[in-house]
């Protein structure tokens, strides 16, 4: 039994070790205001304080802490991206992930289960090989495996040749991981607050104005706030927020749904993704199967659930794992994914001075939480984008310099 728990057990009275210091009153001015208290906003706040000594910072969150996509995502972490820019960026994130739990003092349950992207067509084999080649060239652990190896890595998988889309091979990414999403947000929130950052829940930004002196005036449902710099990290609501300050983003917002099964005795080790069947699945430490698919086909700002989603998803699940017929779906939900044309994020400066943007995370932004937070903090602190995120600035769309991840991201997250 770990010491930390022994201590709890033998103390007479429960000493709440308040993960979060109690909330402070909202002030009318801050050096930096971060809009959006999801993983990204909280990580940015944490690194601003830790790396740059900037702690006159407020994070404004319209709901409860990390109530957006951070709370809804399926927590897949990987770096086997298609473009060198993407792969290097996410690889840096994975490096940060590995030591994050110790640093934040909270168990993130970071679990390297291995990540398999199944290929059912020769086109998918080509894409997998392409990704593997790019990854290997950059030193990322990633390879194309055939059916025999696949049978060893995931013996439960239906490798029959008689099914509608027989599995031909897979892209295998051994360091592919899952983590406990809520813990990530809590850890960053606590770390930030301990350094003096204020987190204001139930505080919604309703208007944004850039003033002549370069500062930014934010309207909220709790009064107006003046900020020296603003970092916008609101995921699904990115276009709406940017519009408030006059920035038009090339982003399409579509619902992305997911679901979990009841907890079952663990039988599935790796994370399994199939682009052709539009599904992905992993089994959590609690034993639940966490499953998702492609985004909904039309833009919408509603997080309603649909029946088609679970019907289609389960039909495809049973194609890969026919023995799961009697497993049961416990809960389904949705988030709003902010999709860019090239399936890469948008990070960096904007046409509005002192207003920085962190958006376009679509279906894949959870894994970037550490690296994005750290890079955005550097940007807000220095006004200069670090090399890692330069390729992702908003301007790239006007320059036609897209970072094409479409082929690798469809349901890959």
């Amino acid at each position: 039994m770990p010491l930390a728990l022994l201590k709890y057990g033998i103390q007479r009275k429960y000493k709440g070790n308040r993960y979060f210091p109690a909330a402070k009153p909202l002030r009318s001015a801050y050096d930096v205001v971060i809009i959006g208290g999801g993983g990204h906003g909280l990580a940015c706040a944490y690194y601003l304080a830790r790396d740059w000594g900037i702690s006159d910072v407020a994070v404004l969150e319209k709901g409860w802490l990390a109530s957006g996509n951070t709370a809804r995502n399926t927590a897949i972490i990987r770096s086997n991206y298609l473009t060198p820019e993407g792969a290097l960026f996410y690889e840096e994130s994975m490096r940060l992930w590995r030591s994050l739990a110790g640093e934040l003092g909270i168990n993130l349950m970071y679990s390297e289960r291995g990540h398999l992207t199944l290929a059912h067509t020769d086109a998918a084999i080509r894409t997998s090989r392409w990704r593997a080649e790019v990854n290997q060239h950059l030193g990322i652990d990633s390879e194309l495996v055939g059916r025999d190896e696949l049978a060893k890595l995931c013996p439960e998988l239906n490798l029959s040749e008689d099914i509608r889309y027989p599995v031909l091979g897979a892209l295998y990414h051994p360091p592919g991981a899952i983590a406990r999403h809520d813990a990530v947000a809590w850890g960053y929130a606590r770390g930030a607050m301990q350094s003096g950052v204020e987190i204001h829940q139930q505080t919604e930004v309703t208007g944004i104005q850039s003033l002549d002196d370069g500062s930014i005036e934010l309207e909220t449902d709790r009064g107006s706030i003046s900020a020296g710099q603003v970092v916008q990290a609101v995921a699904g609501m990115s276009s709406e927020l940017a519009r408030m300050v006059g920035i038009k983003l090339p982003i399409r917002s579509v619902p992305l749904q997911a679901c979990v099964s009841e907890a079952l005795k663990p039988f599935l080790d790796p994370i399994v993704v199939s682009g052709s069947l539009h599904i992905y699945v992993s089994q959590s430490a609690r034993g639940e199967l966490v499953m998702g698919g492609a985004t909904d086909p039309y833009p919408l700002y509603s997080t309603r659930s649909t029946l088609d989603f679970t019907e289609g998803l389960m039909a495809n699940m049973l194609e890969l794992f026919p023995f799961l017929e009697n497993a049961k779906v416990l809960r389904q939900w949705a988030g709003i994914a902010d999709m860019t044309p090239d399936f890469s994020p948008v990070m960096g400066i904007t046409p509005v001075s002192n207003y920085y943007i962190d958006a376009g995370w679509g279906t894949w932004g959870f894994k970037a939480t550490p690296v994005c937070g750290s890079c955005m903090a550097e940007l807000a602190a220095t006004g200069k984008a670090p090399e890692l995120i330069k390729p992702f600035e908003l301007e790239r769309f006007s320059r036609m310099e897209q970072v094409g991840e479409r082929g690798a991201a469809s349901v890959g997250h």
Partner: protein, 977 residues
């Protein structure tokens, strides 16, 4: 097994069992008997077995609680199926079930010591430890994973049969209790077509077991009369044994039975889903032997089971006194009534039971249930005197009993309404949630609408039924009347939570969360109810908070000092109850599209490959050994087209007809090339880009008439292209009609130097001569009596004709070509050979030689872009890109060293350790006697004769040289013959 041997109560107890029919079944390997109509849980209870499974975290012994399938305590494993609700599962001959989540046996669970460690496992404990030193978590995780999960999945389970059915109704009434019955009758009498949905096997709901402070026989006759009226009403269809699991937008309901999913579209929905009795919280409140009032009544009334021999009833409301009367009626001794109210809500009831010899202890509570060793049943309870504040004082005494019944209130089953947009908000007057924001075209009635007195419930149902009828435009004659409801206010106790300093006072049975766990979650700073839920996992288990969220919210708000009134329960998500993957999936209907020649291909040895939803012949193995001859077969097929004549099935290509005065303008906007001046009777290349200028599709446009084009798309692109056309023209409003004719016409490409000879041998009104039918010409006519659109195109680079014929006549045409071509050595040719042939000509395949960012100039297709047009999709982006230097170019290449390793598709082109491109196509060319391919290279490497490096497997570098395409027949003479 508990000590008392439960016996069946005499009739009329046991309304749903048939005592004439005994059924044998097994549980945990032991044989038992029950009656037809019993559930597994009731039949076991009849045998004195209350313990069904072990809890998730502490492996506490648990038995069914609600006996209505609303808790997860009754989860058992039946064969390959885990997590089956024993209190919903009818027993059947041969049924064999097992308990869940134990190490060793259900009765002696070696993992039970987890409960003793509970003080070392505070709320959120797994967040606090197991991560230092770095790298240690995977070891702990292995240990946790072993403890995780409830039921077992058999990875070799057999497949069962599941299906789906669509249903329609004017009014869907969910729930067949008094409110539902009366709502259904009112709506049906007004003329609406009603579907009444009930989860249990029989209608009646609470009318089957509750007393409503009356004589049971009065309730029985009311029930029989209502059910009789429903059964006789032709406007009502009844669906029992089906759970409504989801209420999606626009009244789209998912109803499930074990092997079938019904999908119901209703014009109006009335939720009469009732409410679920909540647990009272005290130490050991989870043990078998502790039951809620409604669960006790269900056991007795439905199944005729005597739930104990000596009972204590703890109550906050009149329903508790009803149970006392029930127990006495069944001959069970009631040791005492523990009334938690300071002064009795109804002195008459106190009087009534006192005169029957039952002691009533006012202003007292149960502080603890005393377990028998092994925790499998109880031997008594500890009673505490309550202070004015409602908190337990030190004054306490014990009572012996083997049954403790609690009655402290209900929570509305508003989850379904919440799926559709409703909300559950805490109401201070009712001490309960009320359902607000009821979605449009729907209503609520009964206890889900906080009506409890029977008359009020019936009137509420009737009102909802009449409202539904009116909403449908019907004119019911009857008027609705509102009945005052005396009951709702006094039912829920505001805080039936009596924490014990030694814990085990469970708020959530699924997750083994106690009062202290929730208090500590708030103390840790997780004040918001949603954060407290996520941190403690309360409400995250299989019963999704149905039995825990009310008490959890009370505790969280009390500790955090926030208002309870107006607080809402966390968002409710479908499904209402867990639904099996099989039911959701149904039968597999993954469509498979086959061309009209499919059988012929199969009969002639084709080996198929998937192409989107289609299957296409990859090559024809004939009757030779397949694997050994792939390369050989493909080479032969290539050779037959280069040397004689071959025929390729191209039916899978998309076909779209565009008609109307603006047809050419429409194509001008959809595609990059220019079509306005395209002559009638000519074919022209089609290249489509998206808004970012990336290539997305290609094909051929045949102008059949001034205002009529027949165009082709790629095999996988046809549906997307067609959908985009409709969407774009919804914006543009051009005068055109677009029709997807992909499966109207089948296509075949007859190609090779002898193809003209074949065509000329078949009876036709078309002239196939070079002058009458030149390269890129399009002709319409008949061949062998079959109408045909024929065109000369050159994908494979030989003289050839692509014939598009009506789907139904395609096979006849195909056979004719094969028959007539025989003397020229004609052969069917598959996709593999076609790929080689087109590569020799340097033609690209969209998706293989392009990626999402490939712009026309990158693939050397700028010739197909007419920049003088005012607009086409992607033009602004392409215009912009032209102001920037190009970063890569698709070129043809050959290898410098013919003996070295051969690159594969997707191998990288690398320069100074930087990735500059990749190989997209590569093949051995018999005609050129070397390996050829297409690759993206840096612009400086694109000059013919330039050298570049390809990184092949194991990091080896292979030298390649840029070659002008086409590789084969560079002047394109052969296709124009």
């Amino acid at each position: 097994m508990s000590k008392f041997t439960t016996s069946r109560l005499p009739e009329p107890w046991g309304s749903v069992i048939n005592r004439d029919h005994t059924i044998s079944f097994r549980f945990e390997g032991k044989g038992y008997q029950g009656y037809e109509g019993d559930t597994l849980a009731s039949a076991l209870a009849a045998n004195g077995v209350m313990l069904l499974s072990r809890s998730f975290k502490y492996h506490r012994p648990r038995g069914a609680f609600t006996f209505a399938g609303l808790d997860a305590n009754s989860y058992v494993q039946v064969g390959d199926e885990p997590n089956v609700l024993a209190d919903m599962l009818p027993i059947s001959a041969g049924l064999s079930a097992m308990g869940q989540n134990y190490l060793g046996s259900l009765y002696r669970d070696h993992a039970v010591h987890a409960g003793r460690l509970s003080r070392f496992l505070p709320v959120g404990f797994y967040y606090r430890a197991f991560f230092r030193p770095k790298g240690i978590w995977p070891l702990w995780e292995r240990f946790f994973r072993r403890a995780a999960g409830l039921g077992k999945i058999n990875c070799n389970a057999d497949e069962a049969y599941f299906d789906k059915q669509y249903l329609f109704a004017d009014v869907a009434v969910i729930g067949g209790g008094p409110a539902g019955l009366s709502a259904a009758l009112a709506a049906a009498r007004a003329g609406a077509n009603v579907l009444l949905i009930e989860e249990a096997a029989t209608l009646g709901g609470s009318l089957n077991y509750a007393r409503f402070q009356r004589h049971r026989r009065d309730v029985d006759s009311l029930r029989d009369s209502l059910i009789g009226q429903v059964e006789q009403n032709d406007n009502i269809r009844v669906l029992v044994g089906a759970t409504c699991n989801g209420w999606f937008p626009d009244n789209w309901l998912a109803l499930s039975r074990p092997n079938r999913l019904y999908k119901l579209r209703a014009k109006h929905v009335i939720a009469c889903t009732g409410s679920v009795e909540q647990a009272m919280v005290f130490r050991n409140n989870d043990l078998p032997g502790v039951l809620p009032a409604s669960g006790t009544q269900r056991l007795m009334r439905l199944y005729g089971i005597c739930p104990g021999s000596r009972a204590v009833v703890a109550t906050a409301n009149a329903e508790g006194y009803d149970v006392v009367l029930d127990l006495l009626e069944a001959g069970i001794s009631v040791q005492a009534v523990i009334d938690v109210n300071q002064s009795a809500a109804s002195p008459e009831l106190v009087e009534q039971v006192s005169t029957m010899g039952v002691a009533v202890h006012q202003a007292c509570t149960v502080g603890e249930a005393i377990p028998r060793t092994g925790l499998r049943s109880i031997t008594g309870v500890v009673i505490n005197k309550l202070a004015e504040s409602g908190e337990a004082t030190g004054e306490s005494w014990q009572l012996d009993c083997d049954l403790l019944v609690t009655s402290v209130g209900y929570a509305p089953l508003g989850q379904l309404v919440c799926h559709a947009g409703g909300e559950l908000i805490y109401d201070d007057a009712l001490n309960s949630f009320i359902v607000t924001n009821v979605p449009p075209d729907s209503g609520l009635a009964g206890s889900v609408n906080h009506r409890y007195a029977l008359d009020a419930v019936l009137a509420d149902g009737r009102t909802a039924g009449l409202d539904a009828a009116r909403a449908l435009g019907l004119n019911p004659e009857a008027d609705s009347q509102i009945m005052p409801d005396s009951g709702a206010g006094g039912i829920n106790h505001p805080y039936p939570i009596y924490p014990h300093r030694k814990g085990k006072d469970f708020v959530d049975f699924d997750e083994d969360q106690t009062v202290a766990d929730l208090q500590n979650a708030v103390a840790d700073g997780f004040e918001h109810p949603e954060l407290a839920k996520r941190y403690s996992t309360v409400g995250m288990g299989p019963s999704q908070g149905r039995l825990s969220s009310l008490n959890a919210l009370r505790i969280v708000q009390r500790v955090s000092g926030d208002h309870l009134a107006g607080a809402s329960v966390t968002t409710q998500r479908p499904p209402f109850k867990p639904v099996s993957f099989g039911v959701l999936a149904g039968r597999s209907f993954e469509p498979e599209r086959l061309t009209p020649m499919h059988r012929w291909h199969a009969d002639n040895g084709a080996v198929f490959m998937p192409a989107g939803m289609w299957k296409r012949p990859a090559y024809y193995a004939g009757n030779k050994d397949r694997a050994a001859t792939v390369a050989e077969q493909v080479a032969e097929e290539v050779a037959v087209i280069r040397g004689n004549v071959g025929v390729i099935d191209v039916s899978t290509l998309g076909g779209i007809e565009i008609r109307g005065p603006d047809a050419a303008e429409f194509l001008n906007r959809m595609y990059t090339f220019a079509y306005k001046k395209q002559p009638v009777g000519r074919a022209r290349y089609l290249l489509m880009t998206d808004d970012t200028g990336g290539i997305v599709d290609d094909g051929v446009a045949c102008r059949l008439d001034d205002e009529h084009f027949y165009i082709t798309t790629t095999t996988t692109g046809s549906d997307t292209v067609y959908r985009n056309m409709l969407r774009r023209n919804a914006e543009w409003g051009l005068e055109i009609d677009a029709l997807n004719v992909t499966s109207t016409y089948a296509g075949m490409n007859i190609a090779g130097p002898m193809s003209r000879q074949v065509m000329e041998k078949i009876e036709s009104d078309m002239d196939f001569s070079k002058d009458a039918f030149p390269y890129l010409a399009v002709r319409q006519g008949t061949i062998n009596g079959i109408p045909v659109i024929a065109m000369r195109v050159g994908f494979v680079g030989e003289l050839g004709y692509e014939l598009h014929v009506p789907w139904t006549q395609a096979l006849a045409m195909w056979k004719k070509l094969i028959a007539v071509g025989a003397q020229f050595g004609i052969r069917p040719v598959g996709v593999e050979a076609q790929r080689v042939l087109r590569l020799e000509k340097g033609h690209i395949i969209i998706g293989q030689d392009t990626d999402s960012l490939t712009m026309p100039r990158d693939a050397a297709l700028d010739w197909a872009v007419t920049s003088s047009k005012p607009y086409f999709i992607g033009k602004p982006a392409i215009g912009l890109s032209e102001t920037r230097p190009q970063s890569r170019l698709l070129v043809g290449f050959r290898l410098l060293n013919s003996d070295g390793p051969v690159p594969e598709e997707s191998h990288l082109v690398v320069r100074d350790d930087a990735i500059v491109g990749r190989v997209t196509s590569v093949a051995w060319s018999e005609a050129l006697d070397e390996v050829i391919g297409l690759a993206y290279v840096a612009p400086e490497q694109a000059e013919s004769g330039a050298n570049f490096q390809i990184k092949v497997s194991q990091g080896l570098m292979v030298a390649a040289q840029t070659v002008q395409t086409p590789f084969y027949d560079p002047e394109n003479l052969r296709q124009a013959l």
